[in-house]
């Protein structure tokens, strides 16, 4: 197990390409970002000029259920930027958050410590603002990200898809340039079916060594942070509705559990120390939930 990055990112900013519109205060941002040609139009509003050409464009996070598509798997398809964030982005990223996705885009960037701007329809500004306020109120103490798999990223699209599936399966990895002996397992990219790759990695690692497991949802992706006396689980719900119940297993004894859930008060239930791990249930998982655990 080793460290990666800290869960303490700059809050996501709002990038507004269009003309001024009412409701910008709901976004909860002191200063918006806008293309240079548009800044003058925002009288009375703090606005910074940002050339969108300087930003790395990323897709909106979310889920495609693919109900009407013939497919090999019945699992919903999670569109996550997590693998891109773990590979690393140059400078700032710009996410064109689709309908209702602005809050999730902000949460995802926070969970991966990414520096992003989000564009969103005015009707989503309030949700974006609510998420920003939630992120700002989270525990400030940064904790290192935990992983026990090293992934030797070669920069190829296949490697990105490998990482995407590892992340989707909550197999906690970090990108390494050479094998790291401190990690339980080091793997190289592999072409072909990325889902099969993830399963192969899982079998090599074994479920017993997984630092974290989730039961009950195929649309929630977790990150784990921690030090000698704490664990922090960041849970991203990529669907457009609350997930009713997720069981979480974290390796180690961390019986003190407190929950910060976006938009709701949620308490951990059925906390047990099970073998060498701590398990608890979150009865509801909103778009973003951060769980603090201690000895």
């Amino acid at each position: 197990m080793t460290v990666l990055v800290l869960l303490a990112a700059a809050l996501p900013g709002l990038f507004v390409e269009g003309d001024p519109a009412p409701g910008i205060r709901d976004a909860g941002v002191e200063c918006i970002q806008a293309p240079p040609a548009k800044t003058a139009a925002w009288s009375g509003q703090c606005v910074n000029a940002v050339d969108p050409a300087s930003l790395q464009k990323l897709p909106a996070p979310g889920v495609r259920y693919r109900m009407n598509e013939a497919r090999a798997s019945s699992a919903p398809w999670v569109d996550s930027n997590g693998a891109r964030y773990l590979r690393g982005i140059q400078g700032k990223a710009l996410i064109a958050a689709g309908d209702g996705r602005a809050a999730l885009a902000a949460a995802e960037a926070h969970a991966f410590g990414a520096d992003v701007l989000v564009t969103a329809a005015p009707k989503d500004w309030k949700a974006f603002g609510d998420m920003r306020r939630f992120l700002a109120a989270l525990p400030a103490a940064p904790l290192p990200a935990l992983a026990n798999i090293g992934f030797e990223d070669d920069g190829t699209p296949a490697a990105l898809e490998n990482m995407n599936l590892l992340l989707r399966r909550n197999l906690l990895f970090r990108v390494v340039s050479t094998p790291d002996k401190e990690l339980s397992l080091n793997v190289k990219p592999k072409g072909g079916d990325p889902s099969a790759f993830a399963y192969e990695v899982r079998q090599k690692l074994t479920d017993a060594k997984r630092l974290l497991r989730l039961y009950g949802s195929e649309v929630v992706v977790a990150r784990l942070f921690g030090d000698a006396s704490h664990r922090r689980v960041a849970l991203l719900n990529y669907s457009n509705r609350v997930v009713e119940g997720v069981r979480i297993r974290v390796l180690g004894a961390w019986p003190k559990v407190s929950v910060h859930a976006f938009g709701e008060t949620v308490e951990a239930a059925d906390i047990v120390l099970e073998g060498d791990a701590t398990e608890f249930t979150l009865p509801r998982v909103t778009a973003y939930v951060v769980v603090e655990m201690a000895r």
């Binding site: 019945s74 399966r169 909550n170 889902s195 099969a196 399963y199 899982r202 479920d207 989730l214 039961y215 009950g216 949802s217 195929e218 997930v243 009713e244 119940g245 997720v246 069981r247 059925d270 047990v272 398990e279 249930t281 009865p283």
Partner: protein, 373 residues
């Protein structure tokens, strides 16, 4: 009555049911100890009471006669127990201070399900036995299916109807501490948790399955209804052509406290499905056995159910439930063509459950008492 033996029919050596060595590795996680006499197989292993009443259901209208159903139930319980009063018969299994769960079968609702008239009469007889209505709960996994069957319109006042999940993937209705863990095909969620009321509230359970064909398990009767209907995340067992229903059904049914608390099997065979189950995709796949079977042994009842479904399929001139040829699997539209299979069927799950001690599979050791009203 001599029953036709179907075990082994159309079973070639090359494509036989799984060998024990090939079975998935199951890890049962339960803190519940079995009772002194577990409900399955209960006090009457191998005993089945089969009550026929032609007037119980009108095939032209699907209308069920509540008075005939009530008499079928009383006669069935008396014959099963040897008691002279039906309330005394019920008290052999249920005491007034019990909290009773009635396991519905709603997977094909509303077209085919534990009939509301049957369930309501069962609840009435429990109440007559002394169980308060508020201590009776009809349960199933999925809320939309239960709602579609409209049980509250039939049930005595005070009887509860409960579903474990309002949304298909919701797990709050399940016990996080009682589960079976198994990795079938690399799925990330390897747990199937028990319905919370089963482990935390009910003291007794009565199972009310239907008489149905099943595309994966061959038939679905007592065992599959109590097993797959009392745990979540079970459909993963039949994702590919070769399924794991053979061993998963019996394994789940054996988990405590489900096994100990399930004290009665009341099979609602007024209406059945001979192809396409558990759903009724086409009206032509329904049939009307107009019978109910009573017992404590789910294996013995399901063994007889296999014959009922197989005989009906033979009469319809379609492939056997024991047909394991890949030539028929996903060849056409299973929902429309009774000469196709969705999966390699595993009716052997009943014999496997018998090997786990859940009941008697050997037809020579099953005693069936037939009653005709």
């Amino acid at each position: 009555m001599t029953l036709p033996s179907v075990a082994g029919a159309a079973l070639g050596a090359a494509n036989a049911a799984p060998k024990t060595d090939d079975l998935p590795k199951y890890r049962v996680h339960s803190s519940y100890a079995p009772s002194a006499q577990p409900g399955m197989p209960g006090p009457f292993p191998g005993r089945v009471v089969d009550v026929h009443a032609a007037g119980s259901i009108d095939p032209a209208t699907d209308k069920v006669d509540p008075a005939i159903v009530a008499e079928m139930m009383k006669q069935g319980m008396l014959a099963l127990t040897g008691e002279k009063d039906y309330r005394a018969a019920w008290r052999r299994f249920i005491e007034p201070n019990d909290v009773v769960g009635i396991k519905l079968n709603c997977s094909g609702a509303p077209k085919i399900c534990s009939h509301p008239v049957v369930v309501a009469e069962l609840a009435r007889q429990l109440i007559a036995t002394g169980v308060p209505a508020k201590n009776i709960t009809c349960y199933e996994r999925f809320q939309d299916q239960v709602v579609s069957a409209k049980y509250p319109q039939y049930l005595p006042e005070g009887v509860n109807v409960w579903a474990a999940s309002a949304l298909r993937d919701a797990i709050n209705g399940y016990d996080p501490r009682t589960y079976v863990e198994v990795d079938f095909f690399g799925e990330d969620d390897t747990r199937s948790n028990m319905v919370r009321l089963v482990s935390e509230r009910f003291t007794k359970i009565i199972n009310v399955p239907n008489m149905k064909d099943h595309g994966a398990s061959g038939v679905t009767g007592c065992l599959k209804n109590i097993a797959y209907g009392s745990f979540h995340n079970v459909a993963r067992s039949h994702r590919f052509e070769k399924t794991n229903t053979y061993s998963f059904i019996g394994t789940l049914a054996s988990v405590e406290p489900l096994r100990s608390r399930t004290v009665l099997q009341v099979m609602d065979g007024l209406k059945g499905v001979w192809h396409g189950g558990p759903f009724l995709h086409q009206d032509r796949f329904r049939f009307y056995p107009a019978r109910m079977m009573f017992g404590t042994d789910p294996v013995a009842i399901d063994r007889l159910l296999t014959d009922i479904i197989e005989d009906k399929r033979k009469a319809e001139g379609v492939i056997s439930v024991f047909n394991r040829s890949m030539d028929y699997v996903k060849k056409g539209d299973f929902r429309k063509d009774p000469n196709t299979n969705n999966f390699i069927r595993e009716p052997g799950h009943i014999e496997f459950a018998g090997s786990l001690g859940l009941g008697v599979f050997d037809i020579a050791k099953i005693t069936r008492k037939e009653i005709r009203l």
